[in-house]
C-alpha cells in the first residue's frame, strides 16, 4: 500500500482552494455577468489566462512573485515567519489563480442565463439587491455553483506543473498526489504509481460523470 499522505494533501489543497474560490469567484462572476464596463473584456481575458498558458509559465512567475525577495513573499515572511514558496500556503495562492477560470466561467454563465428578469421581480417585491442576490440569484444558479465547485476542486487535484515549480516536492507539505506519481515513476516504483494514477482516473471520471449527469433528465412538468 503506497503512502496516502499525498492524497490527503491534494484533497486539503483542493478543498481550501475551492472554498477561497467560492468567496472570490462569486462576486467576480456576478460583476462580470451584469456589467457593461469597458474593463469587462480585460478582466475576462485575465481570468481565462490559466486556460491557455503552460503551467510552467504561471509557476515561473508565481515563484518570482511569491519568493522571499518579492514584496508579497517578504510581507508573508514577516507576518507568518514562514516562506510562501515551497509551502502549503504558497500552493493555495497559486492554485486559486490557476483554477480561477473553472470557478468564474460556469458561475458567470449561470448568472447570465438567469438574466435580470427575476431580479427585477425581486426588487418589485421589496428585496434589496443583496437580498435578491442571496434569495433569488444564488438558488437559481445552484447548478452553476455545483459545476463550478466540482470543476475547481477536480482541476486543483489534477494540477502538476504549477505545483512542482511553486511547491517543489516536500513530503507532507507540498508533495501532492500528482507529484507523488511523478516521483514513483522516476524511481521506477510502478506499482505505487499505478495505484495513485488509476485512482485519479476513476476520481476524474466520477466527477465529470456527476457534472454532466446532474440536472439532466430532471422531470419538468409543463402543461
Amino acid at each position: 500500500m503506497p503512502d496516502l499522505g499525498p492524497l490527503w494533501l491534494s484533497l486539503a489543497l483542493a478543498g481550501v482552494t475551492t472554498a477561497i474560490l467560492l468567496l472570490v469567484g462569486t462576486p467576480l462572476a456576478w460583476w462580470l455577468s451584469g456589467t457593461s464596463s469597458r474593463f469587462k473584456p480585460v478582466i475576462e481575458a485575465v481570468t481565462a489566462l490559466p486556460l491557455v498558458l503552460p503551467p510552467t509559465v504561471m509557476g515561473f512567475y508565481f515563484l518570482i512573485a511569491l519568493g522571499p525577495a518579492s514584496p508579497i513573499g517578504s510581507f508573508w515572511m514577516r507576518v507568518t515567519g514562514d516562506a510562501l514558496t515551497f509551502s502549503f500556503s504558497g500552493l493555495v495562492v497559486a492554485s486559486v489563480f490557476y483554477s480561477l477560470p473553472f470557478m468564474v466561467q460556469p458561475l458567470q454563465t449561470a448568472f447570465e442565463s438567469i438574466g435580470r428578469a427575476p431580479l427585477e421581480a425581486a426588487a418589485t417585491l421589496r428585496a434589496s439587491p443583496s437580498d435578491a442576490f442571496f434569495s433569488v440569484a444564488v438558488p437559481l444558479a445552484r447548478r452553476g455553483f455545483i459545476t463550478a465547485s466540482v470543476l475547481s476542486f477536480a482541476h486543483t487535484i489534477g494540477e502538476f506543473g504549477v505545483v512542482l515549480m511553486v511547491g517543489g516536492n516536500i513530503p507532507g507539505k507540498t508533495r501532492v498526489i500528482s507529484i507523488a506519481i511523478y516521483e514513483h515513476v522516476e524511481t521506477l516504483n510502478y506499482a505505487a504509481a499505478h495505484v495513485l494514477s488509476a485512482g485519479l482516473i476513476i476520481f476524474a471520471f466520477t466527477v465529470l460523470l456527476f457534472v454532466y449527469g446532474s440536472g439532466r433528465g430532471k422531470p419538468v412538468h409543463v402543461r
Partner: protein, 365 residues
C-alpha cells in the same frame, strides 16, 4: 372607489435609447383602473418601468401621492417604492413553489397588516395551487399567482404590464374577472398597460394614450375609445363602440346577463363578476353590427336597438363606409359596405335599428 381615493401621479420624465425616446410631462389622476393604451413600441412599458424605478437611466421627477420617488437629485430604488408590478411573463421564482413565491412577498413587506394571505389566495382562486411547483402551472394560473404575490407586498399603486398578452383567449377569459374585481376589492389604484381595445373597454375607467414615447390623449375611457379621431390614427384601434350599461340580472340557467342601456334592454353573455346594479362597459366591433331600416322579425339576433343615423363616412380604397348611429345617447359605429348604404338609402337623420348578436359582446378578448 370614491373620489377621495384619487391619487396624483406627477410625471416629468425622459429617457432615450438608440432609436427610441420617451418624454412625458403630465399629472395623472389615478382612481380605479387607468388604462395605458397605445401601439406596441410606443413606450407604455417603459413608462411603467420608470414609475416602478426599474429604469435607472431615466431622468426627471416621479412624484406619487406627494412622495418623491425620483427627482433631479434623488432616486428611490425600486425595492423601496410601494408599487406592485405584474410582468407580462409573470416572473415567478422557479426555485420556489407557489406558496413560497407568495411568502417571498409576505416576508419582505415593510409593515404587517393590510392584505392578508388568505384573502389574496381566495380572491385569486389559487388555493388548490399552493403546493404546486411553478413549472406545473398554466399561463393563466401563473399570472394569477403573480398578481397574488404582488398584492401581498401591500402596494399603494398597482402596475400591470400587459398581464394577458401572453395568454390565449381561453386563459384571458379565465383571468379577466379576477383583474376586473381588483380595484374594488383591494382599493388600490392600478395602471393597466395594453394594446387591446376590448381589454381597455372592459377594465379601464380612464385611459391615457401613448404613441411614440409621448402621451397623446387622456380622459374617461368611454370618451377616449369613442373618439373619431382615435379611430383613424395609427393606433391599433379597430373601430369599436363602448356602451355604458348597468347590470339588471344574471340569468344563470341561460348563461346570460341582462343589462340596461339608458332604458334599452341588452342581453350579453353572463358576466358574473359584476354584481347586480353595478355599472359595466361593453365593447362591440363596428364590423359586428347590422343596420336595418325596419324592425326585423324572425332573426336570431337578441338585441335590436332603435337609433337615429348621425353620419356616414366613406373609407376610401375600401368597400366600406363607417356609419355612426345615435343609440339612446351613445354613438354606435357600424361598418357597412358602400353598396348597402346606397341601397338602404342611409343618410343622416334616418331612423334605423341597430342589431347586435349577443355573441358580439363576448368579453373574452
Amino acid at each position: 372607489m370614491s373620489a377621495n381615493d384619487r391619487r396624483l401621479l406627477s410625471l416629468k420624465v425622459r429617457v432615450a435609447y438608440p432609436g427610441f425616446s420617451l418624454g412625458v410631462d403630465r399629472d395623472i389622476e389615478l382612481a380605479g383602473v387607468t388604462g395605458l393604451f397605445g401601439p406596441s413600441g410606443g413606450g407604455k412599458s417603459t413608462l411603467l418601468r420608470i414609475v416602478a424605478g426599474l429604469e435607472e437611466c431615466a431622468e426627471g421627477t416621479v412624484i406619487y401621492d406627494g412622495e418623491e420617488w425620483q427627482t433631479d437629485s434623488s432616486f428611490l430604488p425600486a425595492f423601496r417604492r410601494p408599487v406592485g408590478y405584474v410582468f407580462q411573463d409573470a416572473r415567478l421564482f422557479t426555485h420556489l413553489d407557489v406558496k413560497e413565491n407568495l411568502e417571498f412577498s409576505l416576508e419582505r413587506r415593510p409593515v404587517d397588516g393590510g392584505i392578508s394571505f388568505d384573502e389574496v389566495v381566495s380572491a385569486m382562486g389559487i388555493e388548490p395551487l399552493l403546493h404546486r411547483h411553478t413549472d406545473a402551472l398554466s399561463g393563466g394560473e401563473r399570472q394569477r399567482v403573480a398578481i397574488a404575490r404582488t398584492l401581498l407586498t401591500n402596494p399603494r399603486l398597482l402596475l400591470l404590464d400587459e398581464p394577458l398578452a401572453a395568454l390565449d383567449v381561453g386563459r384571458k377569459r379565465e383571468i379577466l374577472p379576477y383583474i376586473e374585481a381588483l380595484p374594488k376589492r383591494f382599493g388600490i389604484p392600478a395602471i393597466y398597460v395594453s394594446h387591446s381595445v376590448s381589454e381597455m373597454a372592459r377594465l379601464a375607467d380612464d385611459i391615457v394614450v401613448m404613441e411614440d414615447g409621448r402621451i397623446t390623449a387622456a380622459g374617461p375611457a368611454t370618451s377616449i375609445l369613442n373618439r373619431d379621431d382615435m379611430q383613424s390614427s395609427a393606433l391599433p384601434f379597430e373601430a369599436v363602440s363602448i356602451l355604458e350599461v348597468r347590470v339588471l340580472e344574471h340569468l344563470e340557467a341561460l348563461h346570460l346577463t341582462r343589462v340596461d342601456h339608458h332604458g334599452q334592454r341588452i342581453t350579453v353573455p353572463i358576466m358574473k363578476s359584476i354584481p347586480q346594479g353595478d355599472k359595466a362597459r361593453l365593447s362591440v366591433r363596428a364590423g359586428d353590427i347590422v343596420i336595418a331600416t325596419e324592425e326585423p322579425r324572425g332573426l336570431s339576433v337578441r338585441n335590436t336597438l332603435p337609433g337615429k343615423l348621425l353620419s356616414v363616412s366613406e373609407q376610401s380604397d375600401s368597400a366600406f363606409s363607417m356609419v355612426a348611429v345615435d343609440v339612446a345617447g351613445t354613438t354606435v359605429k357600424a361598418q357597412l359596405t358602400h353598396h348597402a348604404v346606397k341601397e338602404l338609402g342611409l343618410r343622416p337623420g334616418t331612423e334605423v335599428f341597430v342589431l347586435i348578436k349577443t355573441a358580439s359582446f363576448d368579453r373574452g378578448a
